[in-house]
Amino acid sequence: MNNQTDIKERIRKNLIWKSIFRRDYRNTVRDRAQAVFGNIFLHLHPVQVREGAVRLRFTWGMGGITFFAFIILVITGVVLMFYYHPSIEQAYSDIKDLEFQVPFGVILRNLHRWGAHFMVIVVMIHMFRVFMTGSYKAPRQFNWGIGVILLVLTFLLSFTGYLTPWDQLGFWAITVGTNMGAATPLLGYQGPFSEFLHITPFNDVRFALLGGSRVAGNALLRAYIWHCVAIPLVSVILMFVHFWRVRKDGGISKPQK
């Protein structure tokens, strides 16, 4: 017993320990607050929150779960990028390699795919919860709009990821999806009024999406860059705004009557 406290004491008095944690934690009001605002990850939170934020029946934790799913997807996504070439010669065999060559490659890919489906599901339920509690009302109108855009970006993240394995499922799903671009009024070659702007299959919205007039190598590269760099970048920035505004608009919404 004595020995144990002695070891604990020695670790805590250690120069390295102290350099990391800077101060002792004594479970006082001050230290509990310090634990939150002295920590870069926790300081997203206020020092104190409403009881409702802790009781699951109000928020269901859905916003947090969405963010957690996003983190899982970033981590598994980065690891997957080590094994993947965005070219039509190699993409498919890279996925096959994940299955047969890469240690835990199957689990890695499964986690990424099911995590993506999961994120789409929970982000929709999060929106439903915010609607049902009227939490989009003043002063949170703007943050609801940011949330809608994040919802759309979640769909687009998943959609662009669909093509990356370069299998029949992704290829035709992207073909069906991007064909809609060709129907854009004015800007798609099959859309209404596009003839007035001299729009052809080689200069319309669909061409811009695919980097060509059909789903081929350029489309795969574009999907890959949107999926791994561009959309995550925009999403992360908007998430910062979203979380920031949750705090600035008064935290988890509470009954206002």
């Binding site: 439903f128 919860r129 299998d167």
Partner: protein, 294 residues
Amino acid sequence: MNPFIEIITQPDNIAIVIMIIMVTFFTLWAFQQAFDNDKLIAAGKPVDGENEGLVDTFKPLVRIELIIALVVMVFLTFWSIVVDAPLEEIANPTLTPNPAKAPWYFLGLQELLVYFDPWLAGVVLPTLIIVGLIAIPYIDINPRGNGYYSFEERKFAIVTFSFGFFILWLLLIVIGVFFRGPGWLWYWPWQEWDHSRVVFEPTRDLSNVIGIDSRSLPGFIIGAIVVNGYLVAGMVAPYRYLKKKMPDFLKQFGMIRYLVTTFLFITMMSIPVKMVLWLVFHIKYIWITPWFNV
């Protein structure tokens, strides 16, 4: 295997099954709490959470976040061990699968292609969904029901949103995933897909019903009157009703907000209208113009 079991247990469709279970559970929970709060309000009592105090973030909130993160991680790991992500044959531009389906969360939009041309189903309506969602806080000026579950205080908002979310978004997704087979024809889950099945459905346009060629000038004029008449009537009729029954509300609501709200609302309602026209009356187009068809 039983086709129903087969379709439900396809790896990607397991996500849809999970979605149905989760959405059902949380919907019931939300409405349960809404009705509970309605009773409290009717009794003049404070709603759930109205008088609650503060707790420290560290550790009550941090603890619950950690627990949820672990539960989610365990759930996803379990899912990933039990079910393998599908990988079909390598992409082959010369071999079109039938049906070629979009990712599941876009199948509601793909389902709309049965009733609308692509420029509406794939571009205009999705854009209006996004714009409409963002507009919700600015057109819903009802100050009540802010920050708690409720139903009685905001019936119109909740019924409208629920119709869009459950019927037009989720139900159409479920139909697209489980009930659409080759040729985008309707298949019950227990029916085998028949790739040679052809359904001849006599199509006609609205003006054909009264014997006028929809591609002629009179047909064009009738179509224009019906489509624009629907829009105008849909925006004028509620105005007259509100003017009579709720003049104060209308004044407070304002003209711009009124126009935006009714436009979004009747656009949304045009989806079930077109569905009925097609499914019941086999009417394909209402208005045919040289540039687009509605």
